[in-house]
Chain length 312, copies 2
């Protein structure tokens, strides 16, 4: 049996315009690498974190990877502990599910160290518990696509009910992370607790059509469905240059463009990897020109795999 | 070319629990028969209505069939008029889309008399205009499934964007119409104009999963998705005996049960026609036992055909 493993888990785009709090998809890159080493001492320790610019705590109880592994070991009653090395290969607080990626990589890895005891779907609750510890609310729209790959719908949280959706061939995303910060707490606070019924009807009409578009591989319908009348109108206020960058994405052929998770990253879904590259570069130019913001660009097909072992 | 035609258009179940205002499906029965006779005089006249108990006006401007045919002839500039005979073979104000069935049968028929000038999807706006004239608001969740058959999603009203969804093999409905009245205006008025974001998220999670369930033919998921936290909790207050009848439907094996349109009819989706018969009879018994209400029962697979010519 393995005594150590390194797992890569991908960044994810949550909400996906019309799917606020219930839909997300996985990217190939960026992502997080988590190395786990089994040890006799029954403690979970984060021994090192790279790539976080010193921002993350080494306290395992304050880190989603640590919380997820502790929860897993405790629930299963395993007689071993784990040392964790985290290598963040993606920006923190970018709206790309960084904490979910760490939790998913960690729990996927510890399950391998334990001899693949639990099927994949039973790993999800540990990542949600970890997300709750880190972010205050148990949202699955990053963790579920990071764990299962592809587009994942969360029908219900209580009980947890997850639906994996199909991915049209070639579908790709440009994700642009402008170098500005949006705190998740602020992005939550700016939302209203109530919405107009007419707006809710528009939102669920679009989300239902988005799901149909994925099954039918209808990219025209997919593009028309990528509309958010609930979160985007408010959260976009926290992202300098948003209207112009979105407009640029659509003018350059993106099927749709909206905020990734709670931002500040934007995603644009495109018909091919090539289109996504073109759209992404135009969005970067627009951020620079409109509000003098530098940004990172990630171009990726939708990742249908989820976490993977990269090294033993 | 035909000079007269009789068209049958089916009753429809709108909202379908989680799809408030955006989803509906068609039944095989009940339905409406509309006979149209071409005439030289360029007027649209309703010459007779049967089966309405004298409740409907003969004024073509106040009847959805009359408004739909007038709109069609005017838009296309056809140099003929039509006499209409309406045979209502379904209850009025029952929540089964009676006015939409008449409009759909009428416009489908007049298009045949004109030589099938317009493709089916271009007939929908005439029925919506007619529904608006009759009900005050242009809702497509009855007219669209009556016209196209099957499950139909309305992604957007402006512009009108319709998605036909697949129907799992064997899927059937029990529709029970209790002999009590719910005025559409009251059913609208009892709804709140705002809803909590958390409730909206539950609703669109369920609707998105319902769409996925139809594509995957996953009846378990379909059943779990048939939940309405928006309209049912309020509108059910207008239907005597609702909680007990719904409970009875679920206990007898229905996948889900909710209000058809704005009520008072209830629908239960079931895995087979046989199941739907059993469930429907149990619901009728429950209405009788709980609140001494007589009812009509309609048992039908989902109608994938829409309107059809029954007689020349």
């Amino acid at each position: 049996m393995r005594t150590s493993v390194t797992v890569y888990a991908p960044a994810t785009v949550a909400n996906v315009a019309s799917g606020f709090d219930v839909l997300g998809f996985a990217l190939h890159k960026p992502g997080d690498f988590v190395t786990l080493k089994k040890k006799e001492k029954k403690s979970v320790d984060i021994v090192a974190i790279e790539g976080d610019g010193g921002k993350l705590s080494l306290d395992a109880a304050l880190n989603t990877a640590g919380v997820a592994v502790s929860g897993y070991l405790k629930a299963a009653g395993f007689p071993f502990g784990v040392d964790i090395i985290l290598k963040k290969a993606m920006p923190l607080s970018s709206g790309l599910g960084s904490s979910a990626a760490s939790a998913v990589a960690a729990v996927y890895g510890v399950n391998l160290l334990a001899g693949r005891v639990l099927p994949r779907q039973e790993l999800l609750p540990f990542t949600l518990h970890a997300e709750e510890a880190a972010c205050g609310t148990p949202h699955a729209d990053n963790a579920a696509p990071a764990l299962f790959g592809g587009f994942v719908l969360i029908r219900s949280y209580e009980p947890l009910d997850i639906v994996k959706l199909p991915v049209p061939a070639g579908l790709a995303a440009a994700v642009v992370h402008p170098h500005t910060e949006v705190r998740t707490a602020d992005a939550r606070r700016i939302l209203k607790k109530e919405l107009r019924l007419v707006d809710a009807v528009r939102q669920w009409g679009n989300l239902a059509a988005l799901v149909a578009a994925l099954y039918q591989e209808d990219l025209g319908l997919l593009g028309r469905s990528l509309q958010d009348v609930v979160a985007e109108p408010l959260r976009s206020l926290l992202i300098p240059g948003f209207p112009g960058v979105k407009k640029t994405a659509l003018e350059n052929g993106a099927l749709g463009c909206s905020i990734s998770g709670s931002g500040p990253s934007l995603f644009a879904l495109c018909a091919s990897l090539e289109e996504a590259g073109k759209v992404g570069r135009a969005m970067q130019q627009s951020f620079l020109k409109e509000v003098s913001l530098e940004s990172d660009l990630y171009v990726s097909e939708v990742n249908q795999e989820g976490p993977k072992v990269v090294e033993d």
